[in-house]
């Protein structure tokens, strides 16, 4: 398949958040401020890309030759957990304030199904190395863009008068559902 098509597939047509509905926990949790959502997206891009590369290599060069593909989920989770810990150490060292703002959502990237979902899609689609790299980058970039757009809308709406029953998550879910309807049209 053409690389541009694969990019568009991961970024728009099969957007991990709005068409597959994966990673919604951190999507709603860290989209209250633009700065936090941006750095959350960057962390997800880093983890997803490296997790896809390492999972692809371990699956194709260790698990398939030794007929141990039943271990794949366990191996992928451990790879993702290691990468998240590296990111956590890096963020803590570089920006303690950002580490404090992201809070529990940074270590929770380990259980973010957007990351494991992307890795499993890549493995099950039998992509070649470059295709796998493009898809995982596009998928995580899609996550960053969507979370940043939602954070921008939420910041603007917070500055306006909103009925009390809609404040916070109800309004965020309504915005997310409207965005999901728009993304469904790309299919």
């Amino acid at each position: 398949m053409d690389l541009i098509n694969i990019f568009l597939l991961g970024f728009l047509t099969e957007n991990i958040v709005l068409t597959k509905f994966l990673g919604l926990c951190s999507f709603l949790g860290t989209s209250s401020k633009k700065k936090n959502s941006f750095w959350m997206g960057i962390a997800v891009i880093f983890v997803t890309s490296f997790a896809s590369i390492l999972s692809y290599l371990s699956y194709n060069y260790i698990l398939i030759p030794y007929e141990s593909t039943y271990l794949k989920t366990l191996v992928f989770i451990l790879i993702i957990a290691s990468l998240v810990k590296v990111v956590e150490l890096f963020v803590k060292k570089m920006s303690p304030a950002l580490h404090k703002n992201l809070g529990i959502y940074l270590p929770l990237i380990t259980t973010n199904c957007a990351v494991l979902g992307t890795v499993l899609i890549v493995i099950n689609s039998n992509y070649k190395f470059l295709e796998m790299l493009i898809f995982s980058l596009a998928s995580s970039l899609g996550y960053l863009v969507i979370i940043y757009v939602l954070a921008s809308v939420r910041e603007r709406l917070d500055a306006n008068e909103v009925p009390p029953s809609f404040k916070g998550y109800p309004l965020a879910l309504i915005i997310a559902s409207i965005m999901a309807i728009l993304f469904a049209r790309f299919k």
Binding site: L71, V75, K92
Partner: protein
């Protein structure tokens, strides 16, 4: 044999990184050492 070595290696790496993260988050009080 090889897949199990990979699995054990990843578990050991995770434990090592978990200790690193815990010591990075340590504020010097006695709480976590207890």
């Amino acid at each position: 044999m090889m897949p199990y070595l990979l699995l054990i290696g990843l578990i050991v790496l995770n434990l090592f990184l978990a200790v690193k993260v815990k010591s990075a988050n340590c504020k010097g009080c006695q709480k976590c050492q207890e």
